[in-house]
Symmetry: C2
């Protein structure tokens, strides 16, 4: 592929009424990327954000240049990888909503995927940050599905995250240390976690 | 995102002197996609091809249209997912080479990734199709790494695939039934495979 010199990638800013990327410090995606880099550098876990799916329309293959393309909706979650030999799979979202997490943020195909991974015994969860409170939660797929199957509301209230989820405390390094919580979940699930 | 009506995605044809997508029937990528869809539909495994990484340069977010972007090199393998609770990770390549598999087909970062997943006890492997012989092999990451660490040649000879790898027989449904071989590998590794 050709990489013409001097091209700088613009900072990509997503806008969506339910997802905000403007906030005090770094956004959740940046925090998770730096956390996953930390895990990788330390040889703790290998978890990656999947590239954004794109529908290619016009490509100049000689130049390796995409001239027309469109964003595609994801059919799976954004992050997956391996930790202590276990399959890890999660979706991460920020919301400015002050009452809870609007379910419109998770696509139908993603919900189907989360159900599949949950059934297959993967370590599957959501990481949701409520930007107005600067609080970040981890909610296991089983509790997420339980909510979907037993409620008709389009928003998961914050109280549900408080009751069923885990609060991920802000840290300096790594920023969002979600594997600390996964260790607890593995202990509850398997008694003692297998070593990598 | 907007999807202006009437746009048809061109069939994307990759060209590379070592990778060929012209061949008798379907190419390896299509075969693997249909195989993975079969596994998913039957609830056997959830394994996906990751989207191609793209470097965005110019985007019209109002229209959801990418106006300038470039292909980026992958830092991980193309496929990953879960089977019977195990983490599955692999790279798939076709080659027209008649002597073996040219290592130039696997990027440096991908090799590093394969080493990491292997160390972390993931089920990691290559699927390589030699188009001139219409033969498809699965080579476990440990044997791939072993070759890299003990040889200075830039091509893994077909004889090495015959000796260390597994030949994946062509089938009608699913096309490339690699999980049949993974079952053997799991039995060798864990004695009895855990049930999902």
């Amino acid at each position: 592929m050709n990489y013409p010199g001097g091209i700088k990638t613009k900072k990509i800013v997503k806008t969506n009424k339910n997802i905000s990327y403007k906030n005090r410090g770094m956004n959740l995606e940046d925090d998770l990327n730096s956390t996953n880099n930390y895990y990788k550098d330390k040889g703790i876990a290998y978890i990656y954000k999947k590239p954004t799916p794109i529908k290619l329309v016009k490509v100049d293959y000689k130049k390796g240049k995409i001239e027309e393309a469109y964003f595609d909706s994801p059919s799976t979650t954004d992050y997956n990888g391996i930790y202590k030999g276990y399959y890890i799979d999660f979706e991460a979202k920020e919301t400015e909503n002050i009452k809870g997490f609007p379910l419109i943020n998770i696509h139908k195909h993603q919900i189907e995927h989360i159900r599949n991974i949950n059934k297959e015994n993967g370590i599957c969860f959501l990481i949701v940050r409520f930007t107005k409170y600067n609080k970040t939660y981890l909610l296991e797929s089983k509790d997420f599905i339980d909510y979907l199957d037993n409620n008709k509301k389009s928003v998961i209230p914050i109280s549900y995250f408080d009751e069923k989820g885990y609060n991920i405390k802000d840290k300096f390094i790594p920023r969002v240390d979600y594997l600390e919580i996964i260790n607890n979940i593995l202990e509850v699930r398997y008694g003692k976690t297998k070593e990598s």
